[in-house]
Structures are given as structure tokens and as C-alpha cells.
């Protein structure tokens, strides 16, 4: 049953956390009052357009901008040289991998382009149409080079070399785990099961393409950039770095954002150049990427090819895991491109208790768009590999797949644990979510039903995905929370996370309202302004509630403590005797000696009413660093039907049982899970970012890249359990990515199960009809 929402006024004070309050963001988003970056307008604003490379791999000779410069409305046309002439080095900060090489990332191409659509030149014009139309008039001398769009092209003997520093197109190599112990485990094993798993490239396709509006106030040397982003403070750093403007003179603000999903975690050439152009031309500059620009030059995601092997005992206990991941980086290495596959390697034990493991990772350059974070950032890839392997082991050893999982789960009493591949999981109860999922889906009767259906030539399949993921910040992470109560009683809350559709204003208000015992409607939440909230880590890796919420709970708690001191003074009692409940301070045992927190706040701003040694004001900032990350988990089960004659796949059931620790707003949790599942099914069945052999992006628009539509997705039967995290004051675990991490293995395992009578034991996503049809016929395309 979908979670039912409640109106804020129907929630009892102090019970906001845990209640499914209706989102306060929705009215303005749904009635056209939202203000996205493209809605931002300033007088004299001009427009920036970027020319993308025609080829996937080419040398660049002369760029003749003369015709474009003379085109209607054009103010300027810039290339790399113009940037360096202005005194900056014209590059974006590049990933510098340990065990690897760093390669330069120019803002506008210099000498060589390495993916189709890579920005080569910039046009600024009065009107938006003027700017984009002038792009076709720029004449670029391309010397086309042989391209290596696929991993196997880039790794082949004699492959074209994409970067001089990277021999064999390898950017970095790394490993995790214990090779020796793993070899031993394999030599002791009764069985081994090996699998090659491909995680297909997908293109994060947020509803709102990239956008920025930059203004430069010359008289103050102040740069103000408004942009669609997930982490304004990081953007502030980058702008300062790249443009050589002191950070305190850079302001970054984020209007409403139409989805980020990880792809808006870095400023792109367009964002940075809008600022540079604003400085060069002394006019506000807007850059609004078109959908096709986003397809070509926004980061892509998830492309990894993995060989993995399990060592098992005769009874089906996992003894060891070993594997290798070839990770596609694209034409340039991003921080995410380098870090994410290493994160994947560390997550490959999944929910299983594996005594020994060893995984190596190799990051490879290809002539495709650079790869970086996308909802799950390495954990969907890991869950897919280990859950495909788990079902494969069950099949080979002829053990029921649910039973195989149960047998190998990390027992709940063992938590917290550190896995053989180097990850820590804070808490878990894997059997509970598996059991509940099996119950909801009716697993008991399924195999008989499946058998009967096969006799009628109907092919049903069931697929399991028992996933765990690690997110929600880490011991190396920090987030700030500011809570201020005004003398009139209103509460202002600020934190450095960034809403891009998650519902932060709703959930943070719930947390603080409860903590302070004030009206939910009295709490205002501020994000996305580096002037009002000076530090922050943005929103990524499901960190907002554990980290931001954690910091705010801390800060609110401190505010209550300060209030207690002031109340004690007002009530003429000792602090030890002051209790706080439901927004009121009271003297223990004296029920009519009370003062509200609002009254205390008012007093806090009257110096005469304060006790000695207490500063005026009612404001606290807390910086929170957790002991460790959080590990949400669960089991998803999909039942599908596949028609072997047409390859058509339909969903009969989709069941999800997830544990994300304490839930502040169950409706938001449900929404995150279901939205995540939609994106996971998208990758499993519909989406693939494809390049042809000439490194042309073949799926360059929504006409060719198949995003799932609402009617193509199954209804999700969703339930949850709550195993709190010990690692933050809320006990919450991250929820933003869990659904995406879980879904793909459940769907692909189900399709394999459905086609097993045809000898199918392996399938590659996306599960197009042709892929399934050929598999049923014993062919690969």
C-alpha cells in the first residue's frame, strides 16, 4: 500500500519525525511558481553557447571564428587561446589518481578532442538563438584520428593512444582485499563459479539540463553565479580556482533544480565559462544547455566490465571472491570516474559473509563522454555483479536462490562489520528483509506456478536482489547545521546540503520542529546560498539526512541547552531541575512554573534578561562528522514474464523491502525508493548510451535513448524495516540511492530465470526484446 500522507496541522507536536507530512515544496513546484536557473533574468543578459566536437577523436588545427563573429547578435567567439591570454590556464581541476596518471582537462579543447561533443569553442550573443545559430559558422580544422569507443578498442594492441601520459590507455590500477588469503580460499574450494558481468553505460537524464547565470561586479571584484547544482560550495571552490578570484568574493546560489542524480556534482565548461565571459564582457551571461548538449557532454555513468569468481564449499558457503574490473573513464578522468570503480570493488561482498576477497581495478580511457557519479555511484555496479553471481552460484550448485542468500548472509549479531574487501557496514538484519520480501511475493507457491505455466508455454521468472550499500557520509566527511530562533519565535535553519528534488525543506523542518518543540510551519530551511551558509558538502551519496540532519539535530540540541540555561534563570531554578518537553521548559515537580522556548528566545535578545556569562542570541552551529558511514540494505524481488517468440518482457510483480534506518518522513522514503527503482529498471530494460564504431554518440537524443515512461514501470509493493544506524544522531541511513542499487539485479535475474528452460544462464542489460529473443534462440547479437 502506498504510504498515506498527512497534513502538517494534523501532526501532534513532537511527532513530526516519522510522520508522512505532505511535502512543503510541492505547491510551488506544481503550480508554476518554481524558479529554475533558466527563469533567472537580468537586464543586459547575454547568452553563451558551446560548440561541441564533431568527431570522437581528432587533432584540432586552426579554428576560424570570423564568420561566427560577424553573425547577427554575436558579441564574441572564444577558443582556448583566449582563455590563456586572459591569464588563467584554461583547465578544470583534473583527477590525480594514486597508482595512476593525471591528464589535463581543458575548458575548451586544446590540440586534441577525445569525445564527440567535447567543448571546442564558445559563442556569446545577445539572444539565445543568435548564440546557437552562430555555432555552425565556426570552422574547425579537424584531423580525424582513429577512435577507440569501446573498452576492447582502447585496450587492444596497437590501439590509438588517447593521452600521451597513459600507456595502453590505462589511467590507473588499484586493488583491494588480500590476494594471498583469497588464493588459499580458492585452492580449498569444492566449487568455483565464474561470471563475466557488464554494467551498461547509461546517461543521467535529469529533467532540467545544465544551466548557469553569471554576473560580475567589477567595482567589487565580486562574482555571483546562479546555477543548477548539487553542491554550491564545491562550485564556489572551483570558480575561485579556475578563474583566479578569491573565494570570499565568489557567491554561488542554487535556484530550484530539476534533478541532479550525481551528474550535477561538478561544474562543467559551460558553467565556468559563463563566469569567465561575465568577467570578460562585463555583462550577465546565461548558459542553458540544450538536451542534446547534455547527452553529449554531461557525464555518463556506470560502464564497467567485470570478471568475478566465487569459491564455495560443497554446502554452498562462500569461501572467497576474486575479480577484476575494467572501468571505462571516457575521454578524460573525472574524480568520480577514478573513485567510483574502486568503491565498486570494495562493495563486491554485498550482503554475504565472505572470509577472503581480492579485486583489482583498471581505469581505461575511451573516446566517449567522461564517466562520473550517477545515483549509486559504484554501488549499483557492485550489487549487480554480486547479485548476478549469487544467483549463478545458486543455479550451478542447485540450491534455491533465496536459500543460498540466507545461508551466506552476514548474521545480524555480527554488526558492525568490516568486509574482506575493506568496507564497513554499521548495522543490518538481512534475513528479516529477505523473509518479508518472500512472504509478500508469495514465494512458497511460486515454483509450482512457474512449472505449470511452462507447461502452457508461458515463461515466468523470479529474480532476487539482496543488496547492501554504503552511503550517508563517512568519517572523513563533515556537514554543518545552523539553527537560529528569532526573537519573534520563528526558526531559521541552514545547512550545506542541496535539495535537487529530495524534500530537504520538509524533512529538516520535521527534525528541528521536533527537537525544539515548535510549530513545523515556523521552521524555515535555507540551502543553496554560499553567503548565507558558508560551508557545506552538497548532496551526494545520500548524505543529506544522515549528515545535514545529524548536524541540525546537534545544533538544535545545543540550542535547547542554551535555552535551558536562560530558562533556569527566568524560572529561578537550577539548570539541573529544568526539564524540556513539547516546547516548554519546566521546573521538575512544579507543573505551573514553565516558560516556552519562544519566550526564552525573546529573552535571549534582551541583554537585561540574560544570566551572567551567557551571550545574547539564540543561534547554534554544529559541525557533524560521523563515526562511519551508514549501510542501508534490503531485498527486492521481481517476477517477470518473457515471451520467447517476441522477446517481450512484462512485470507481474515487483516487491521491495528496504531498511534505511530511522525514517523521518516515510512518504519521502517511499518516493526515493520508487524513483530509484524506476531508474534501475531503466538501466536493466531500456537505457544504453551507445557509440558507433566511429565514436559518434548513436543515442544522442530522447528519440534514440529510451527513458522508461510511467506506464512501462510496474507497481511496487513496498515495505520497510527499521534498523537504526549507530553513526548519526537520527539513526537514519541514506535512502536516495537504495532503489536504484537494488533494482537491476532483481530484473535481470528474473529474466534469466524465465528463460532458463531455453538454456539461458546469462543476459546482458538492457534487456531489449531482440536481446531476449536471441537468447531464447541460443544466439547473441
Amino acid at each position: 500500500m502506498p504510504v498515506e500522507t498527512v497534513e502538517a496541522e494534523d501532526v501532534r507536536a513532537g511527532e513530526f519525525a516519522g510522520s508522512a507530512v505532505k511535502r512543503r515544496e510541492d505547491p510551488h513546484l506544481l503550480t508554476g511558481e518554481a524558479r529554475y536557473t533558466d527563469d533567472v533574468q537580468y537586464p543586459r543578459m547575454a547568452h553563451l553557447a558551446l560548440l561541441g566536437s564533431q568527431y570522437g577523436h581528432a587533432e584540432i588545427g586552426a579554428i576560424d571564428t570570423s564568420a561566427a563573429e560577424e553573425s547577427e547578435g554575436v558579441l564574441a567567439v572564444y577558443t582556448h587561446e583566449d582563455l590563456t591570454e586572459s591569464g588563467i590556464d584554461g583547465t578544470m581541476p583534473a583527477a590525480d589518481p594514486e597508482n595512476g596518471v593525471a591528464v589535463e582537462r581543458p575548458l575548451l579543447a586544446r590540440e586534441r578532442v577525445r569525445y564527440q561533443g567535447q567543448p571546442v569553442a564558445a559563442v556569446v550573443a545577445e539572444g539565445r538563438y543568435d548564440a546557437f545559430r552562430a555555432l555552425d559558422l565556426i570552422e574547425v580544422e579537424y584531423d580525424r584520428l582513429e577512435a577507440a569507443p569501446e573498452l576492447e578498442d582502447a585496450l587492444a594492441e596497437g590501439a590509438p593512444r588517447l593521452h600521451d601520459a597513459a600507456e595502453g590507455n590505462v589511467c590507473f590500477e588499484s586493488e583491494t582485499g588480500d590476494e594471498e588469503a583469497t588464493e588459499e580460499a580458492f585452492s580449498d574450494a569444492d566449487h568455483t563459479v565464474a561470471l563475466t558481468v557488464a554494467n551498461n553505460r547509461v546517461i543521467p537524464t535529469a529533467m532540467e539540463p545544465r544551466a548557469a547565470v553569471a554576473r560580475y561586479r567589477k567595482s567589487e571584484d565580486a562574482l555571483i553565479v546562479e546555477l543548477s547544482s548539487q553542491n554550491p560550495h564545491s562550485v564556489q571552490d572551483r570558480l575561485s580556482d579556475v578563474l583566479d578570484v578569491p573565494e570570499h568574493r565568489v557567491t554561488v546560489r542554487v535556484p530550484d533544480v530539476g534533478g541532479g542524480f550525481g551528474a550535477k556534482l561538478q561544474p562543467y565548461s559551460g558553467h565556468l565559462l559563463s563566469a569567465w565571459c561575465a568577467m570578460a564582457l562585463e555583462r550577465p551571461i546565461k548558459w542553458q544547455a540544450r538536451r542534446t548538449d547534455d547527452f553529449q557532454s554531461m557525464v555518463h555513468a556506470r560502464h564497467q566490465e567485470t570478471e568475478i569468481e566465487a569459491a564455495l564449499s560443497a554446502e554452498g558457503d562462500l569461501l572467497g571472491l576474486r575479480g577484476h574490473i575494467d572501468a571505462d573513464l571516457g575521454g578524460y578522468a573525472t574524480g568520480g570516474g577514478v573513485g567510483i570503480p574502486q568503491g565498486t570493488a570494495a562493495m563486491l561482498c554485498g550482503q554475504y559473509d565472505v572470509p577472503a576477497g581480492h579485486v583489482s581495478v583498471r581505469g581505461v580511457f575511451t573516446n566517449t563522454a567522461p564517466i562520473s557519479a550517477y545515483r549509486g555511484a559504484g554501488r549499483p555496479e557492485a550489487a549487480y555483479v554480486i547479485e548476478r553471481l549469487g544467483s549463478a552460484c545458486a543455479r550451478e550448485l542447485e540450491i534455491d536462490p533465496a536459500e543460498f542468500r540466507r545461508r551466506n548472509f552476514i548474521p545480524s549479531k555480527e554488526f558492525p562489520v568490516e568486509t574482506a574487501l575493506g568496507r564497513s557496514y554499521d548495522s543490518g538484519d538481512y534475513e528479516k528483509t529477505l523473509d518479508r520480501a518472500l512472504e509478500i511475493v508469495g514465494y512458497d507457491g511460486f515454483r509450482q506456478r512457474q512449472e505449470a505455466a511452462r507447461e502452457e508455454e508461458k515463461y515466468l521468472g523470479i529474480g532476487f536482489s539482496s543488496y547492501v550499500e554504503v552511503c550517508g557520509g563517512s568519517s572523513g566527511d563533515m556537514e554543518g547545521g545552523l539553527v537560529r530562533m528569532n526573537p519573534e519565535g520563528g526558526v531559521v535553519v541552514g545547512t550545506g546540503t542541496q535539495d535537487t528534488g529530495q524534500g530537504h525543506a520538509t524533512s529538516f523542518a520535521q527534525v528541528v520542529a521536533d527537537e525544539l518543540g515548535v510549530d513545523y510551519d515556523a521552521v524555515e530551511v535555507i540551502e543553496g546560498d554560499t553567503d548565507r551558509v558558508p560551508e557545506g558538502g552538497g548532496t551526494a551519496g545520500s548524505r543529506s539526512l544522515p549528515m545535514g540532519g545529524g548536524a541540525l539535530r546537534e545544533a538544535a540540541g545545543r540550542l535547547v541547552e542554551k535555552g535551558r540555561t536562560i530558562a533556569a534563570h527566568q524560572l529561578e531554578a537550577s539548570e539541573a531541575d529544568i526539564e524540556f518537553d513539547d516546547g516548554e521548559f519546566r521546573v521538575r515537580g512544579v507543573p505551573d512554573r514553565t516558560v516556552t522556548i519562544e519566550a526564552v528566545a525573546e529573552a535571549a535578545y534582551s541583554p537585561g534578561d540574560l544570566p551572567e556569562g551567557v551571550d545574547a542570541g539564540m543561534e547554534e552551529t554544529a559541525f557533524f562528522t560521523p563515526e562511519g558511514s551508514t549501510a542501508p540494505f534490503g531485498t527486492h524481488v521481481a517476477i517477470v514474464e518473457v515471451d520467447p517468440d517476441t522477446g517481450e518482457l512484462g512485470f507481474e510483480r515487483y516487491v521491495a523491502v528496504d531498511d534505511v534506518g530511522t525514517q523521518i518522513n516515510p512518504k519521502l522514503v517511499e518516493g526515493q525508493i520508487k524513483g530509484g527503482i524506476a531508474q534501475g529498471i531503466g538501466q536493466a530494460v531500456y537505457e544504453e548510451g551507445r557509440y558507433d564504431e566511429n565514436a559518434n554518440l548513436a543515442t544522442g537524443s530522447l528519440q534514440d535513448y529510451a527513458m522508461p515512461k510511467s506506464w512501462q514501470l510496474p507497481e511496487v509493493d513496498w515495505e520497510s524495516t527499521e534498523t537504526p544506524s549507530p553513526n548519526n544522531p537520527l539513526g537514519a541511513k541514506g535512502v536516495g540511492e537504495a532503489g536504484t542499487i537494488a533494482a537491476m539485479p532483481a530484473v535481470v535475474n528474473a529474466a534469466i530465470d524465465a528463460l532458463s528452460p531455453f538454456g539461458v544462464d546469462d543476459l546482458d542489460a538492457p534487456l531489449s526484446e531482440e536481446t531476449l529473443w536471441r537468447a531464447a534462440r541460443g544466439e547473441t547479437r
Partner: protein, 288 residues
């Protein structure tokens, strides 16, 4: 994406449209714009002038005629769907119009635009062939009617001559049943394959059948072997649909089937058979 600059002219009547068409170099006709504008916005087409005929009232509307039904060229899909006479007299065509694009596309796109553009993957060529329609055009030399069997020539190429404009489609009333079934591309929404069927039925027997496919070939085509098989079959003979479907690729060479990034020719042939079966099945159901 942003279209390159173009001039825009509005025609208030067919005569004006014809004049503008002959007088203006490098012009394209615009009706609903949902085939032309995406092509322009994707940077593939760049006409100097668009001549908007979408507002010509004379060309809009579905009418019952003695023999069947008339669809004015600038009738939007949404308006066509409201017509009971179309649903009754041209069921395969009505089915197909309901499958086109989505709500927004159907509110703007026009039947005449679809027929004139002749996208190989659009949804009307197949059912129009099945319905034995006639395309009416007008040019400087006057009116002309083109039987549908002579209309689709090659990819995006029809029998319309330069300087002519489609005025409407005439469809004889269905004397039995009809249906259209489509395999929709999950990305483009166009027909990977789509099959339209019209059965002339009398006394529980199929007197004759017309079966047209789109999406599968470079242009709309009839499936002769399926038609031949169906003639004479009874409408409730068990395996009729399946056996009909099998014959969908009987006189088709694999190279004639479209091969693109998502679907090979071979698989397209398989889908053509499967969807021919489904279309026949639905038509048989409705005949019963």
C-alpha cells in the same frame, strides 16, 4: 535544439497555399509541425520558409460520406479520434491514430501531414493501405486522386508531385472489421512494426482481406501472402491468425526490412509476423 532561422507565411486558403508554394523557393508546408519541426530542431533540415496550412478550415474535419468517411488533411489526430463515424467506418485507421505519439502530439499533429511526410515508421501507411484509401491532392493543374496502392513509393517519397498539397483522405466504409496493432519503440514512440488489417466479412467467412504494414519497410507496404491466405477462411477457425501471421514475411527479402540501431532486419521480420498475427486476431475478434 534551436532551429535555424526561417521565414513564416500563413495560408488562409488552399489557393493561397498553392500560390505561395509555387512562388517561394526552398519552402516546406507546415501543418501540425510534429514531423517537420523535430527534423528542423535536430539540425537535419533547414527550409528557408515554412508555409503554414494548419489554419485552413476547409481542410479540417471528418465527414461521413456516402461510400465511407472523409478526413480533411489538417484534421488533428485528437479531433479525428472524436469521430464516431471514423471509428465505425475505418476501425484500423482509428486504432492507428490512437497509437500515434502521445497526447501532446495528437493535439497538434495532422492526418494529412502524416500522409504527406510518409515517415516509414509512422502509424498511418499500414492501416490506410488496409482500408484501400484514396489520397486527394490539389495542384496548379487542379485536383487529383491517388489510390493508396500507388501512393507510397520510397522512403519519405510519395506520389505527390511538386507544387501539390494533400487536401484529404477518402476511406471506403469497412464491411467487416478492422484493426491496427503496433510495436512501439520505447525511445522514439514510432512503430518498430505496425500492421493494419481490414476484413470484408460475410456469413462468417472472410471474403477478402487487405493487410498493410508500416515501420518494417522503407515505406508502407501490403502483405500479399497474408491477404491471400485470409480470403476464404472462416472467422472462427482456430489457428487462422497464427497461420496468417506466419505468412507476413513470405515474399519479403531480409534486406527489405529496415535495420537500425535498435532492431535488426531479422528480428524485425519476426516482429512483423507476430504483429500481423495480433492484428488479424483482433480483427477476427471484432468480426465475431
Amino acid at each position: 535544439m534551436y532551429p535555424p532561422a526561417f521565414d513564416y507565411l500563413r495560408a488562409e486558403s488552399v489557393e493561397e497555399a498553392l500560390d505561395l508554394l509555387s512562388d517561394t523557393e526552398d519552402a516546406e508546408l507546415l501543418a501540425g509541425g510534429h514531423s517537420l519541426l523535430p527534423t528542423i530542431k535536430s539540425g537535419l533540415a533547414d527550409p528557408g520558409t515554412l508555409i503554414d496550412v494548419g489554419g485552413i478550415d476547409d481542410l479540417s474535419g471528418v465527414e461521413t460520406t456516402e461510400e465511407g468517411v472523409w478526413i480533411g488533411a489538417t484534421t488533428t489526430y485528437a479531433d479525428a479520434l472524436k469521430s464516431e463515424t471514423l471509428a465505425e467506418r475505418a476501425p484500423a485507421v482509428a486504432d492507428a491514430i490512437g497509437e500515434i505519439g502521445d497526447v501532446q502530439v495528437r493535439n497538434r499533429g495532422t492526418v494529412g501531414g502524416n500522409v504527406a511526410h510518409a515517415d516509414p515508421a509512422s502509424d498511418l501507411p499500414g492501416p490506410l493501405l488496409a482500408a484501400d484509401a484514396t489520397v486527394h491532392v490539389r495542384g496548379a493543374d487542379g485536383e487529383r486522386s491517388i489510390p493508396i496502392d500507388d501512393y507510397f513509393l520510397a522512403m519519405y517519397a510519395t506520389a505527390i508531385e511538386e507544387g501539390e498539397i494533400v487536401t484529404g483522405i477518402e476511406i471506403p466504409a469497412c464491411e467487416g472489421s478492422g484493426a491496427y496493432v503496433k510495436k512501439t519503440s520505447p525511445s522514439s514512440g514510432y512503430a518498430v512494426v505496425g500492421v493494419g488489417v481490414r476484413l470484408a466479412v460475410s456469413g462468417g467467412e472472410i471474403e477478402s482481406a487487405r493487410v498493410g504494414a508500416n515501420g518494417a519497410f522503407g515505406y508502407g507496404r501490403r502483405l500479399g501472402p497474408v491477404e491471400e491466405f485470409l480470403a476464404g477462411e472462416t472467422i472462427d477457425g482456430g489457428d487462422v491468425a497464427a497461420e496468417a501471421g506466419e505468412r507476413a514475411t513470405a515474399d519479403v527479402e531480409e534486406w527489405e526490412l529496415i535495420e537500425d540501431i535498435d532492431t535488426s532486419s531479422e528480428f524485425r521480420g519476426r516482429l512483423l509476423e507476430a504483429y500481423a498475427e495480433r492484428a488479424v486476431d483482433r480483427a477476427l475478434d471484432r468480426a465475431g
